[in-house]
């Protein structure tokens, strides 16, 4: 033990841009250069980054705090609708509409969290499903506001007005950079958050709620805050999605789609790694386009992969990668000796 030299994990946590963060950002920044070369297109990058933003936000509850929320689509959807409604009803200003979307989703999340933060485990999960279904049902039935099953249409990709200059992002190439900036912002913000004292408390609660409260943490308040933040950021991703699709539909709020984001996070390894959700989202969309090009039953193959992971590698792709790294390091150390 060499006194005060921090272990590598501590060093990464203290940094705002650890190597993995830089790698992710460089990777996504380079996508427009080669994506067409491999037979794909910018829009898949847009989808991946939006859903990665959503999955990272979602993982604040599942992976970081250990709260199994199975109705998170509600907040993603509330953000999408709020963005469209603000654009149609208040003003066509990107910043204002994003703010409304985040606020509406956070408010919805806070209202639900207020009812469920004293619960945990399966009871917590059931309550999130029930509330999620309520939001979905409202979106389907409140035709005059949401457009029901027909969706809320004609949502514009609003120009990015920076005061000195405004950028048009209506094309996919330009829109990609807006989404990239949003993803980078949320990823760095959440990285800082999960490694802050607040994040430490959340992971302590995940491990042992009783011990956390007996050393003096108001567990209810932490769970409430984490859930609300997660909902707000999910709504942020939802607002981007509404712009990407130029419309908002109730299906992303359904139990089915709430389940898919859980699956993405688990496949990627969100339970053990901050980056797991991003990996899971990328694998999902690339599988959809690559396997989907070969067969219409791609979801069957993706589902089988999910089952194989649950059975043989419950820590997901990130967990497998970590084990592989540890083994490789051990081999290297043995060879060096």
């Amino acid at each position: 033990m060499t006194g005060r030299t921090a272990p590598p994990a501590d060093r990464d946590q203290a940094r705002l841009f650890p190597p993995a963060m830089l790698a992710a950002l460089v990777f996504f920044a380079s996508v427009p250069l080669w994506i067409r070369g491999v037979g794909l297109y910018e829009y898949i990058g847009v989808e991946i980054m939006i859903w990665a933003t959503y999955a990272l936000a979602y993982n604040l509850t599942l992976g970081q705090t250990g709260l199994p929320s199975f109705g998170h689509g509600a907040y993603f959807g509330v953000g999408a609708y709020a963005f469209g409604l603000a654009q149609h009803g208040i003003a066509e200003n990107l910043w204002l509409c994003l703010l409304v979307a985040v606020a509406a989703a956070a408010l919805a999340g806070a209202a639900v969290a207020a009812f469920i933060s004293h619960r945990r485990g399966i009871y917590f999960a059931f309550m999130t499903i029930a509330f999620g279904q309520v939001f979905w049902f409202v979106a389907v039935k409140w035709h005059s506001v949401t457009g029901g099953e027909d969706g809320l249409l004609k949502i514009r990709r609003l120009p990015v007005d920076l005061g000195v200059a405004a950028f048009d992002v209506s094309g996919n190439e330009a829109f990609y950079w807006l989404v990239f900036a949003a993803f980078a912002l949320v990823a760095t913000g959440l990285w800082r958050l999960v490694n802050s004292p607040f994040g430490r408390v959340l992971r302590a609660i995940k491990q042992n709620e009783a011990r956390a409260s007996f050393v003096g943490y108001d567990v209810w308040l932490y769970k409430f805050t984490a859930f609300t933040l997660s909902a707000g950021l999910s709504g942020f991703a939802g607002a981007l999605f509404a712009q990407a699709q130029q419309s908002a539909f109730p299906d992303v709020m359904s139990l089915h789609w709430s389940g898919i984001v859980v699956m993405m996070v688990l496949v990627g390894g969100g339970l053990v790694s901050f980056w797991g959700p991003v990996v899971g989202v990328a694998v999902y969309f690339v599988s959809r386009d690559v396997i989907g090009a070969a067969t219409t039953t791609w979801m069957l193959w993706f589902g089988l992969m999910f089952m194989a992971l649950v059975l043989f590698q419950p820590e997901g792709i990130a967990g497998a990668w970590r084990h592989w790294l540890a083994r490789a390091r051990a081999r290297l150390a043995a060879a060096g000796r």
């Binding site: 501590d10 490694n195 802050s196 408390v201 011990r211 050393v215 003096g216 108001d218």
Partner: protein, 247 residues
């Protein structure tokens, strides 16, 4: 008035009365013991005193202030700390992170979201000092679940102590420990004596009678005897029961 007092506590679960009219007093700087047969209500008593359950009736007073019915985290913040009979740690965290969570400095920063926890040297130093106190110096980077049984027991007490409590409740701290680890624990408790009040539930009577200034015997949810270890050794009930044989 004693630092911590319980007045006429009653607690029942359904029809089963677990605590019936229990009154206890724990003085500052002293070691108090609680003994009694299995199922006598000792752990329930701890749970009521530290806020896991609210009493049905009665008062719990810390330094003149009624704390009965307050939440565990509120009671903990007032300076009441406890260990558990079943091991209760943050298993995935390192030993250092475990004690760091309990530090009042960390608790005060709980809602800081914009800076790195790992970068706060003050917390790191205080956590290492807390580990050293319970004999875990140099083990700070070990993951809690990878520690040996004895080390985990020591870490539990380290976590409870890191909260800088005014009164510390230890629920069967020697359970599962070998003779050597038990001796080390006794030494630790002796070293701490005077700096805070301690209350021990204990089955190891030799251990308890050696350390405690005063012992209360709980049976059928009531305090049936109370006194110094010497007084209790002469107590006919204690002598008759299995509890007395070891002492």
């Amino acid at each position: 008035m004693a630092l911590f007092e319980a007045h006429r506590l009653h607690k029942r679960f359904g029809r089963r009365v677990v605590l019936e009219d229990i009154s206890l007093a724990f003085a500052d700087g002293r070691i108090s013991g609680i003994m009694g047969p299995n199922g006598a209500g000792k752990t329930t008593c701890f749970n009521v005193l530290t806020g896991r359950y609210a009493p049905d009736r009665g008062r719990v007073v810390l330094d003149g202030r009624d704390i009965a019915g307050k939440k565990p985290h509120e009671i903990a913040r007032l300076g009441v700390s406890r260990s558990f009979q079943m091991m209760n740690l943050f298993d995935e965290y390192t030993a250092r992170e475990n004690v760091a969570m309990a530090l009042p400095a960390m608790r005060g920063r709980g809602f800081q979201m914009a800076r790195a926890a790992a970068g706060i040297g003050e917390i790191r130093d205080a956590a290492d000092a807390a580990l050293e106190r319970v004999g875990l110096a140099g083990r700070g980077d070990a993951i809690a679940k990878a520690l040996s049984y004895g080390e985990r027991r020591a870490l539990e007490i380290g976590v409870a102590l890191a909260a800088a409590p005014r009164i510390l409740f230890l629920d069967e701290p020697t359970s599962g420990l070998g003779t050597e680890a038990t001796a080390r624990l006794a030494e630790l408790i002796r070293r701490l004596k005077g700096s805070l009040a301690m209350v021990l539930i204990e089955h190891d009577m030799r251990f308890l009678f050696e350390l405690a200034d005063e012992v209360s015997v709980i049976h059928w949810g009531q305090v049936i005897a109370r006194g110094t270890p010497d007084e209790l050794r002469r107590n006919p009930w204690v002598q008759r029961s299995n509890l007395g044989k070891l002492a």
